[in-house]
């Protein structure tokens, strides 16, 4: 379980993130929203230990993040970056297999997990192909399968951080990917996902965090966060909020 206390990050003289206190709940998906430059990726970097906190602490399972050894941490915390720069022709399943590096679960079990993770990311049909031959969206799903395999099957105490996992996906796969993430969270893992699409966030997240200029503006359920006032203040966007006719979650419509 990942917890941040009064977290602040500085880049040079600028404070790009401050006063973040938050706890990722097991079995829940936390969506992070905010305009460009609000500090979403910075938050993810600080929570994953990539960026040094100028103030505050990040705890993983009651222990400070920095105190975990590499592979111990990797078994509890997986991170999917916005884009990857892999430029070598690994096979798809080899890329996913890298998610099993921190584990010593044996080749047979690994193969099984790789297959399940690929299926979960709707990428099972890509097995056997060279990573370099895939489209951007296909690559994104392969990497999702990789981080899912890293925590598979996903139990309480584990955390998955996703930075815009749907940015390159077609509408169908935006939904299947986030549905897969939800399903994964139901096993007990805590998930944090950075999203730009407010309606996707409303539909698949249990909690939403609205960031504005490096500060937490609102933290709460989709119904609490997705309101015309805060969205106008943060995004500068005039919106109408309706209720989804079938599912009941808020629906954001630009005016």
């Amino acid at each position: 379980m990942l917890r941040a206390e009064n977290l602040a990050v500085r880049r040079g003289p600028c404070t790009v993130l401050s006063g973040i206190t938050l706890q990722l709940q097991p079995g829940q998906v936390l969506g992070v929203l905010g305009p460009n430059g609000a500090g979403k990726s910075t938050l993810l970097g600080a929570l994953s230990g990539e960026l040094e906190a100028a103030q505050g602490e990040v705890y993983l399972d009651q222990q400070r993040l920095a105190q975990w050894s590499g592979s111990e941490r990797a078994r509890r915390l997986a991170v999917l970056p916005q884009s990857s720069t892999l430029s070598f022709g690994f096979l798809v399943e080899e890329v996913v297999a890298m998610g099993r590096l921190p584990h010593a679960s044996g080749a047979a079990r690994d193969m099984e997990i790789i297959g399940q993770a690929l299926a979960a990311a709707d990428a099972a049909h890509l097995a056997g192909r060279s990573y370099l031959a895939l489209s951007g969206g296909e690559r994104q799903r392969v990497h999702l399968a990789r981080v899912l395999a890293q925590l598979w099957p996903g139990v309480e105490g584990q955390t998955l951080l996703l930075d815009e996992p749907t940015s390159m996906l077609d509408p169908l796969h935006q939904h299947t990917t986030l549905q897969a993430t939800r399903t994964f969270a139901e096993g007990g893992a805590a998930v944090m996902v950075i999203l730009h699409d407010l309606n996707l966030a409303a539909r698949y997240c249990d909690q939403l965090l609205l960031l504005d200029r490096g500060q937490a503006c609102l933290l709460g359920s989709p119904a609490e966060v997705l309101q015309a006032g805060p969205l106008r203040d943060v995004f500068g966007l005039e919106v109408l909020i309706q209720q989804h006719p079938e599912r009941g979650h808020p629906l954001v419509i630009a005016r």
Binding site: S48, A74, S84, L86, F88, G89, M98
Partner: protein, 343 residues
């Protein structure tokens, strides 16, 4: 595009190739020995005394065997270091020279050759050792500087390291140029020949240090095969997969400095092996370092032995510097791979 061969058959085939290369390297040379004499000499070498082939025994034991071992070790370690550097820089076109080890070694050699000549000549008995030690030390020193320049706040920035490598290579080039300017004609030729590499004059005392380093690098790098795979995803991804990225980078640079430094110290500059062999093997074996490393080691050793066979047979009784042969084989082959890949 996918020429991927199954690991076990590939390793077996490459092993057989190396065995062939080594046998040919022992059996062929400017002096033609009969098969019977060669066999007798080999039996002698293996500890079964057989009389009647003293000349063959001398040639095989004292000339061809150390030379073949040297060639195999140099090819093996250059190819391994090429793999390590291409992994570290996440670029299939990276070359061990990028971290400055080659230019540093060349500078060390220039200091030894030209400096020695200017100080009135180094006694012939120690000059080859002095040259090797200076080349090795130069390679280590420049690599250490490149590594140091690439570090900030306890993190090694590979991009900065690359640029520092280019800058220090240029600086070393200037220093070598200065020594070239100061050198007389004969010294200049020695320097030029050194820069083209040669396995000529291999002897056991000069072979052991390289064999030890090759063995060390050859045993260590495969332990980091998975880490190298993860590094290809990106440094932060590798960290998230639990890899101690800083330590791995340090080890890769150290292995390369030691490996290439020792190879260059023993045989001069031999280009293209570190670049072409991993590239070629990747086409056959795919990018997985668990297979790429051992396969490249075998292929590098074989390729260098074949190149050396050409080097000593083509112009016999004179010899072609082996660097010319490796570049002559390597460069067109490399172009072929590039053009074929594009089509």
């Amino acid at each position: 595009m996918n020429l991927v061969v199954k690991p076990r058959p590939l390793l077996i085939a490459l092993g057989v190739l190396l065995l062939c290369a080594f046998s040919l390297s022992l059996a062929l040379g400017p002096v033609s020995l009969s098969l019977a004499d060669t066999a007798k000499a080999l039996l002698n070498l293996l500890g079964f005394p057989v009389a009647g082939a003293e000349q063959a025994q001398l040639i095989i034991e004292q000339i061809r065997m150390p030379r073949s071992l040297l060639g195999a070790a140099v090819g093996c370690v250059l190819a391994l270091c090429g793999v390590a550097m291409q992994g570290l820089f996440r670029n299939p076109l990276a070359d061990p020279g990028l971290v400055g080890v080659s230019s540093g070694a060349a500078l060390g050699a220039a200091v030894a050759i030209v400096g020695g000549a200017m100080l009135g000549g180094i006694p012939a008995a120690i000059s080859p050792y002095l040259l090797s030690v200076c080349a090795f030390a130069g390679g280590l020193l420049v690599t250490a500087m490149v590594y140091r320049l690439g570090r900030r706040d306890g993190v090694t920035h590979v991009g900065t390291m690359l640029l520092a490598g280019i800058a220090l290579t240029a600086l070393a080039g200037a220093a070598i140029g200065l020594f070239t300017y100061l050198a007389d004609d004969a010294t200049l030729r020695t320097l030029t020949f050194w820069n083209l590499g040669s396995l000529n004059g291999a002897s056991y005392p000069r072979l052991w240090p390289l064999l030890v380093v090759t063995l060390g690098v050859g045993l260590w790098l495969p332990r980091r095969a998975s880490a190298l795979n993860a590094l290809l995803l990106g440094e932060s991804e590798a960290r998230h997969l639990g890899i101690e990225v800083e330590r791995v980078k340090r080890e890769l640079v150290l292995c390369t400095a030691l490996g290439v430094g020792a190879a260059v110290a023993a045989a001069g500059m031999i280009g293209f092996i570190g670049l072409v062999v991993p590239h070629l093997v990747r086409l056959l074996a795919g990018p997985d370092h668990r297979l790429l490393l051992p396969a490249s080691a075998l292929a590098g050793a074989s390729l260098l032995l074949f190149a050396d066979l050409l080097a000593r047979l083509v112009l016999a009784p004179a010899e072609l510097p082996i660097g010319i042969v490796t570049a002559l084989i390597g460069a067109p082959f490399f172009l072929y791979l590039l053009l074929r890949g594009r089509a």
